[in-house]
Symmetry: C2
């Protein structure tokens, strides 16, 4: 019987569980809201139990911060998240207690980055940002996830404030006006009192948001020098936003270092339907299975 | 006869050439100002010609930006530097024309990072910043320099402006108020009209500068998650500055991710007399010799 690989994309608002085959094709999936940890993870366990016997490994890409250091006492834990009930919760421990399989644990954005790299094998280095209710980024150079002692948390770096946005205090509970505090989805509503999807395209909040996202891309460029920067999440799927970010990126970087044509360099995911993390997880589960074999 | 390894630390204001033995000890060195490229590099060539026969490889750690992609047509060039006469100059080509030896080419800060890692082999990942007339950073994760297509240029990332510093336009010719534009040495004189060494320790410019340097350390932490961040350069050798940076770093990061005790995590170089780059270059030259053998 052919082998199956499991994926859990543990997002802040929903869980997506899936099983795939050796070609990394999605065979079955289940989506449910991210509720209390035990209840949510039990649904994941129940989903995977259907495939016992064929399922040989699972990769989990989770919201963070998480502990990915396999030598740590809290490996597999969600750590300092402000998300109620999930702080210091042993996610991998809960799963392993009922599913005795090799597991790989990383961030949702690292899973997405890995999925995008699997589908573009000529790409040696890339960064994957997600701009949603939070901002996260995963990065790969060669065969390695960027991060010496743990995973990247680029969403919380500081940015130069837009001159028309200086009165906004930012909405990050840890840092106020870090990148996530001024550019994630909730910042749009915090500024305008209107949810993002109802804000006119004429509003200057889009250029303000693009200014901050462009700075994140400049920082990632100057620090990591990737071949490509990919932006996932609903906001960036809007063509007007990607174009605003490209324009501001070009002005901010000011040709200091060479980058590819911006329509190629700054892009949306190649894998459709937000499935980058799922494909990445199948590949990471497959790799983990081969290591453990 | 025992083998010798060569180091060129090509800084923006001076060149330091040295030869070392297989224990990476400095045997002889020569220092001269960074003048026109041909004249300066000829002095380097003349220095190394004294050791022909024993000298087996040279590593060059240069100010940047430089082209370190060995598949590029302009590999070995200094590229977009604002430094007069050095833009698009073929540094490695000039050296190779007269010294037929294996050479390794990287940034001065990567050389320094490598030197610090050689002397602390238990360290798996680190970042080395230099805060001087410019700001640069080199980073290592495992055995690899961070940088997918080229070297890091973290000195030009953008930072959140200090509320008491909003009127200062910054002194970077490319970006105005990027990190280098607001925190490198020349920014102190540009703000106050007084050279840094003559500014009172009571002046608030030190806290302003520390605020920006601390943000650079926060960004490096969140992006790279290194085990240690080292600060070279005269400004940071002053204990009051390192303490100001540690204090601001702690407030800015706000315990979002765990880091080691800050007196260990944010540190000056272990190698004295600014010799980190020279020791790193010896080790890189040795590695290059072994690869080419």
């Amino acid at each position: 019987m052919s082998k199956l690989f499991g994926s859990i994309e543990a997002g802040g608002t929903k869980f997506v569980c899936a099983v795939g085959n050796e070609s990394l094709m999605i065979l079955e999936s289940a989506t449910f809201p991210t509720d209390k940890p035990e209840e949510t993870l039990q649904k994941a366990v129940d989903f995977f139990k259907q495939f016992e016997g064929s399922l040989v490994a699972i990769a989990v890409g989770s919201f963070g911060p998480i502990d990915v250091d396999i030598n740590s006492d809290t490996y597999g834990f969600v750590t300092t998240t402000p998300k109620p009930n999930w702080g210091n919760f042993d996610m991998i421990g809960f799963l392993k207690a009922q599913l005795n399989l090799p597991m790989f644990f990383t961030t949702d954005v690292n899973s997405s980055a890995f999925g995008e790299k699997i589908l573009a094998p000529s790409l040696n280095s890339l960064v994957y940002f997600t701009i949603g209710t939070g901002i996260g980024a995963g990065a790969i150079q060669g065969d390695t996830f960027i991060g010496g002692t743990s995973h990247a948390e680029m969403g919380h770096m500081f940015v130069k404030r837009h001159p028309e946005d200086l009165d906004f205090a930012g909405s990050c509970p840890f840092h106020g006006d870090c990148l996530e505090g001024v550019a994630a989805g909730p910042s749009l509503e915090a500024r305008t009192g209107v949810r993002g999807e109802h804000i006119s395209l004429e509003s200057n909040v889009w250029d303000i948001q693009a200014y901050y996202i462009a700075q994140a891309a400049v920082s990632a460029t100057l620090t990591l020098r990737p071949e490509k920067i990919i932006f996932g999440g609903g906001v960036m799927a809007q063509e007007h936003m990607m174009n605003r970010v490209r324009k501001q990126f070009s002005e901010l970087l000011n040709d200091y270092v060479p980058v590819p044509d911006l329509t190629q360099y700054l892009q949306i995911p190649s894998i459709e339907n937000n499935a980058s993390a799922t494909v990445g997880n199948f590949a990471l589960a497959k790799r983990q299975y081969e290591i453990n074999r």
